[in-house]
Structures are given as structure tokens and as C-alpha cells.
Symmetry: C2
């Protein structure tokens, strides 16, 4: 066994509208809100989401007007994509379209299929 000195615990994405993002990740991707917080120093709000109990956390980071972190928003290249394993690939894409979100790209290789959809801020979400 290797002694790990650090454990990768969560990923924080920045969102520009908390409610729109909560809706996307809970209603479309079935996550649950498992925590909320306010950080005075940054004038920020956080919402934690999980697919299952004890599973990896997706943290939504919202910065209110007047926060030094409420800067101009572009998704950028740092975050390539967030990936979700889905039970029914075709149904997921159908529900995505019905809910009004864009499908950006469909891929097929080696017996597997995956597609990219766009979250409310334009972050690429891979479903596979």
C-alpha cells in the first residue's frame, strides 16, 4: 500500500446562476444537493452536489456582485469536461434535448458511445 498524502475530494466549477445550475445537475443528471455554504471573505456561495452518498462532490461556486471573484466569465480551456456514466444513453440524450440543453458532439469508438452536452454556463458535460 502506498501512503497517500493527499486525497482528491471535490471539483469546484464556477456558475453564474445558482438556480439554473442546480436545476441542470439535479433534474437532468439526478444529483442531490448535499451541502450549502457562504464564504464571507470571497462574497461567495457554494452548493455541493453528489450522485450518491459518500461519492465525489461537485461544488458550484457562485460569486455575488461586488465580490472580487465576480469577474467576467468565460469557460476557458482549463476544464475540459465533467463526465457522467449513464444507464440509458439514448434516453439521456432525448431528455437533454427535451429539457432544452444542447448536444454538442456524438462519438462512437471501440463499441462505446459518448456525447457532450452543455451545462447552463457552457461547460462540456460528457455522458457515456
Amino acid at each position: 500500500m502506498i501512503i497517500m498524502k493527499a486525497k482528491f475530494t471535490y471539483v469546484g466549477i464556477r456558475v453564474t446562476n445558482l438556480q439554473k445550475s442546480i436545476d441542470f445537475y439535479t433534474k437532468l443528471l439526478g444529483m442531490q444537493v448535499t451541502g450549502k455554504g457562504k464564504i464571507e471573505q470571497t462574497k461567495g456561495e457554494t452548493v455541493s452536489l453528489q450522485s450518491e452518498k459518500d461519492s465525489f462532490v461537485l461544488e458550484l461556486n457562485y460569486y455575488e456582485e461586488g465580490s472580487p471573484y465576480n469577474t467576467k466569465y468565460s469557460v476557458g480551456e482549463g476544464l475540459d469536461h465533467l463526465a457522467f456514466k449513464v444507464e440509458d444513453f439514448d434516453k439521456t440524450l432525448e431528455e437533454t434535448r427535451r429539457a432544452g440543453y444542447r448536444t454538442l458532439l456524438k462519438m462512437k469508438a471501440g463499441g462505446g458511445r459518448w456525447a457532450y452536452i452543455e451545462d447552463p454556463d457552457g461547460i462540456w458535460i460528457e455522458v457515456f
Copy 2:
């Protein structure tokens, strides 16, 4: 129990130099390389990293020259930060400095301490 239709499985970040990023995440943050792949369609390479067996995956995405995804790189605001829980906070910061990486911000609130360091592409890494 709620039936989850999707499971948040990994986060992919884009990197501009695979070896530099592998060094950062394995040597400084103690992750292990658990997978490698090439995707012909995107002219891309992926490296999967994990802190522990069966834990959440950080995927490094590298696009070679000539790939349509080898676009100009700026970290952007989509990815706010990646967070790692560390055993020894002070030691981690000391090792970070010694390894030549920048500490961007130190925070203290409610009995907790956390800090942000920069990965080789400028992605903010929270250690707490």
C-alpha cells in the same frame, strides 16, 4: 433510496504538457497513473489519475499539434478549483514551495485552513 440515472465519474482537465502535469499530480499530490489512452478522432491523449483505488478520476487531456482541440489555452472561469484533502497542511505548503510551485492565497475561517496553489497550467488547486 433514489434511483440515480447518472453517476459523476471523472473530471477532465486540459493540459499543455503531459509530463509536467503528471509530475505535479503524482509527485506533489501523491496521485497514481491508473490509465492511459489515445483518441484518434480528436488527436488527443488522456492520462487517468487517482488518489486511491476506486476513487474519483482526474483525467488529463492533451491534444497534439494539428488536433482541432489544440486551441489557444487560457484556464478560464469554468473550472474554479480542484480540491485535495491533505494530512499535513503546513508540510504540503512547504513542499509546494520547495518544488517551485506558487501558493496563491491562504485562508483561515472557522477553525479550518486552506490554501490555493497553481498547477503547471495555472489551474487553482485547493489544499485543505
